[in-house]
Structure formats: structure tokens, C-alpha cells
Amino acid sequence: MTRVGRWAADHAVLFVAGLVLLYMFLPVSFVVLMSFNDPVSRLSYEFQGFTWDNWRNMCAPAGLCSSLLTSIQIGLAATLGATVLGTLAAFALVRHRFRGRKATSVLIFLPMATPEVVMGSSLLALFAAGGLAGRLGFWSILIAHIMFCLSFVVVTVKARLAGLDSTLEQASMDLYASEWTTFWRVTMPLVFPGIMAAAMLSFSLSFDDFIITNFNHGNTITFPMFVWGAAQRGIPPQVNVVGSLMFLTALLLVLVSTGIGRRKQAA
């Protein structure tokens, strides 16, 4: 092969990788860019001038910040509920042999495979049948979110648990650790990354959910509901500020976690 040919071959992967990254991050960078936009009218989606105003007055559009707060509250509560329940379920499914274990595994997986529209509408039917039609709101959204996050938590934690060598726990018991100590000293630290990943996944699923929430929200407005409503009249640029903040938070979390990982490697 010629020298030029070899250079091209060596760098072809990098070039393609660059293109893929560009493809993935172009929309995100556009969100960040538009968060600094100073639009002439609410319906214009072109970049017309740079301003800090959107960042300074994030809560200016009526209802934006309250909907954001609602989404964060629901997201955190749903994450907590789904993570605790899902982790317990995953332990039961991986570590214990009981009647109907296989069937439970399949049933827990089912909500993930069900189209959200179907799930949302049937949940609404369920709530209505339960006489809750007039009282839909924060709690009905939370119940729905915990339900669909649960499947993801179980699947994520189960995978981590299945990869955990059970002789490690036997070794711990052999070294004078009781069942309880073994769980907290050996099992938990090793499964924790899986639980953490499941929690983060739950939060972003809950925060992001529109379809199921749309059926069951009553008068409560979550952030996605707000954006949907605003889109009818023109999306305020502050929505892009929220988007940028979400992106930055996620970026920060990833950087911190890889930082910790690297420090642990070095230690």
C-alpha cells in the first residue's frame, strides 16, 4: 500500500467517527445556540441576535418554571420508587428460585414492549374505572411513571446482578461476614453502578415522558406538556435554556463519573 493510502486507511475510522458525532451533536448544539437567540416574534425560529436575556429571565414565560419544578418532583419521586421496587424485584428474580419466576420475568418486561399510546389510554381507562377521573394530576402521573420505569430498572439491575460472580459472596461468608454484612460490603458495592444507571435512566424517562402523561395529567402541567402547549403559540427561547441546562447536567454527571472511575483505576 502506498504511504498516502495507508494514511487514509488509518484515519478513515476517525473520519467516520467524526461524522457520526457531528450527526449526533448538531441538534444539541442548535438547542444551545437558540438559547441565546433574541427573536423578533415568538413564531420565528431563526437566529436573529445574541442575548443573555433568556438565561437571565428563565422563568419569564408564564408556567415554564412551575412545570419544570413539577417534572423534577415527579422525576425524582418516580426514580426513587421505581429504583427501590425494581432493585428488589431484580434481586428476587436473579437470586431466588420460586414458582412463576419465569412468568414474572416476562410480565415485568411487558410494559417496555407495549406502545406508550396503548399504555397511556388503558391507564386512563383504569383510573376512570377506579372513579379517579376528576382527580387526575400529580399522583396519577407519578403512579404511571413508576410503572413504566420499573421495567427498565429491573432489566438493568438484573443484567448487573447476573454478571456478579456468586462465589464472591461465598468468599465473603467464608471470611466471617454474615449475610447482612456480605450484602452491604460485597453485593451492594458491586451492583451499585447498575442501580445508579437504572436510576438515571428512570429520571430521564420520567422527565421526558409526554404520551402517557398526556392521558393522565388532569390539570397538572409537566415540562413536556408545557412545551407542547407552548408550541401551538410559538416556543419561547427559554425552553432552549432548559434544554441546554439538562444537557449540561448530563454532561457534568458523565464527566464526574468517568473522573471517579479514572481515580479508582489509579488508586
Binding site: 464472591l168 468468599a171 461468608m173 471470611l175 466471617y176 461476614a177 454474615s178
Partner: protein, 381 residues
Amino acid sequence: MTETQTPAAGAQLSLRALTKRFEKFVAVDALDLDVGAGQFFALLGPSGCGKTTTLRMIAGLEEPTSGQILLGGDDIARLKPYKRPVNTVFQNYALFPHLNIFENVAFGLRRRRIGNVKPKVDEMLELVQLGAMATRKPSQLSGGQQQRVALARALINQPRILLLDEPLGALDLKLRRQMQLELKRIQTEVGITFIHVTHDQEEAMTMADTIAVMNNGVVEQLGGPTELYDNPATTFVSNFLGQSNLIRGTVKTAGADVVVDVHGTTAAVPADRARVTSGDVWVGVRPEKVELTAAGQAAGAPGTTQTGTTLAGGVVAEVAFIGVSTQYLVEMPWGQQLTVFVQNNGARDDFRPGDPVDVHWRGEHTFLLDAAQDAHAGEEE
């Protein structure tokens, strides 16, 4: 927890009618076994013979179906693993991946809230020559180093018995030889009773004072390496430890020597080497104990008296040169092929395929086994 601070001393372990059944399969069948204090004891057998299950029952990781495990007189068979003064070196080491080497070794001490951890761990890491690795993670160590950490993590607790479950199985041959000597050195140094499970007969013979050969959940034979090798009690032991030539014969008379008719030739076997003294028997002789001469020539090994047995009419069928020795397959008139190992020390003639030869052996090098046993039991492991 003051008793753990006293110098380590091995304990006498006795298994009484220990049985483990998995559904219908009997893994360990009414096992009786005594391991003396301070012994290096090996449980040797092919996979599935019940040796690992036995070990796991002693550790408390498997609950016996019935029977007793007596440690210094106390029955520990129903105790939780963390209540037993017994530690294990696992086959895959089972080091905690989230803890560094120091914390791995300190784990047992910390669980029992024993103070003064650092000097103890440092001393133990010195013993296994890993002092410099204390802050590393297990994944940063080589297989041999991980193996030694696993050993240190168990030994630091000064258990009354140390259990080793095929601890060298994952190492390459050279490292394994080195670790065998290392383990033996450490055992002599700490004086703890070691129970070592292995399927490698050479490993068991190199290290153990006493070997229990297991097969199908029972002990076939128990004894020192030399005794097991020179005077096996069953065809399984004779084939599983090294190789054996088993030749069919019939007992003619039994006295101080048992006289056997072997395909028309008379062979004498000392009575203490005969497991049966009447009827059909296997006459067993190890390949390196057989002498080969050109047909019609007398056996002439230095110091050999002429009281042995000579079987004439053999023909060399195959020759394999392996450096220190040459392996011959000799076809006998009755169709059986005998294996003969000849040291390449220049004192013997070389033979080629087709050469007519006689085979000779001495009575005290043979053993008699019951002909009802399968001559091929325990082969090819």
C-alpha cells in the same frame, strides 16, 4: 475473639458418614475420613467424584444431607460458613474486585473486629511476596499474584483448617510447579492443616502427606503418595495415579508369596501386596518397573536378583522417545500390549518396532488386584 490471636495450630478433622444428595444424584456417599492436625491432605479424583462437594461441606457452603463434620471434636456440619474457623482458597480466587489488595487481605480481620490490622496484613503480604502490591486492584495483578492474594486473604485469619479448591488449576504449567513448592513451604511455615482438592495426581503427590483418592462419592484408597503409587488397592487407583500394566492371571497357591499363573508363566507376588489371594486376579506392574531385554537374554539391571518373573515372546510394537525415557509398547503372545518405560541412561539396549523381546519384573514391584474390577477404570484423566 482472643482465641484467634493464639499461634495458629491445625486441628484434627473427622468426617462421619457425610452424605450429600442432589435430587437423585449422590455426590458424596457416607464418607468417613480423618485428617490429622497439621497435615497437608489432598482429595484427589476426577471431576464429578465428589471432592469439591466434600470441601464445600467442610467450608459450610453446601449443607450436608446427613452426617457429621467434627473439628477438634465439635460437630460443625450445621454451622453457617462465617461461624467456622475454616477458610477457603477458591478455584477462581474470588477476590473482591472493588477492594484493593490490602483491603482484600484485611477483610476477614475487619469482619471479626480484630485490631492492629496493618502490621498483620503487611506481614502476610510479605509471606506471599506481594508487599509492593498492597494498593493495587485485583484486576491489575497476574493470575499467579491473584492466587497468592487469595492464599494470604485466607491464611491471615489463622484458620484451623485451610481449604484449597483446585487453587492452581488456572495457572500455566511452569507457574503451577513453582506455586506447588511455594504452597508446601508456606504450609510447613504456618503449620495449619491444609485440605487440597485437585484432579492432578502429580500435584497431589508433590505436595500432600496423605492423599485420599475419591471416585463416585467414596474414597477408593487413602495413604501416602508412595504407598498409593506402589501398592494401589483398586484398578481405579492404579490407573488414575500414573499408569499400570494389568495382566490377567489365576492364583495357584497362597503363602508368604502368592503364586499366580500368568498366561502359562508363574509369577510370585508378596502376600502384603495382594488384595486378593484366590481366583482370578490382575497382576499389576508399573511401566518403569518392567525391564526389557532382547529375546532369550537374562535380565541384567544392576543389583537385580534373578528371582523375578520373565514373560517371553514379546514383540516391540511402538517406540516413543520422550527425552529422559523411551516408551515402548510390547505386544505379548496373548494379544495384550504392555507399556514399558526405559530410562535413557545408556545402560539399556535400544529396540525398534518388530524386535523380539522378553519382559522381566521383580515380585516386590507388582501388586494383585481383584479381576472383577474394570482394568480401564480411572484411565484417561
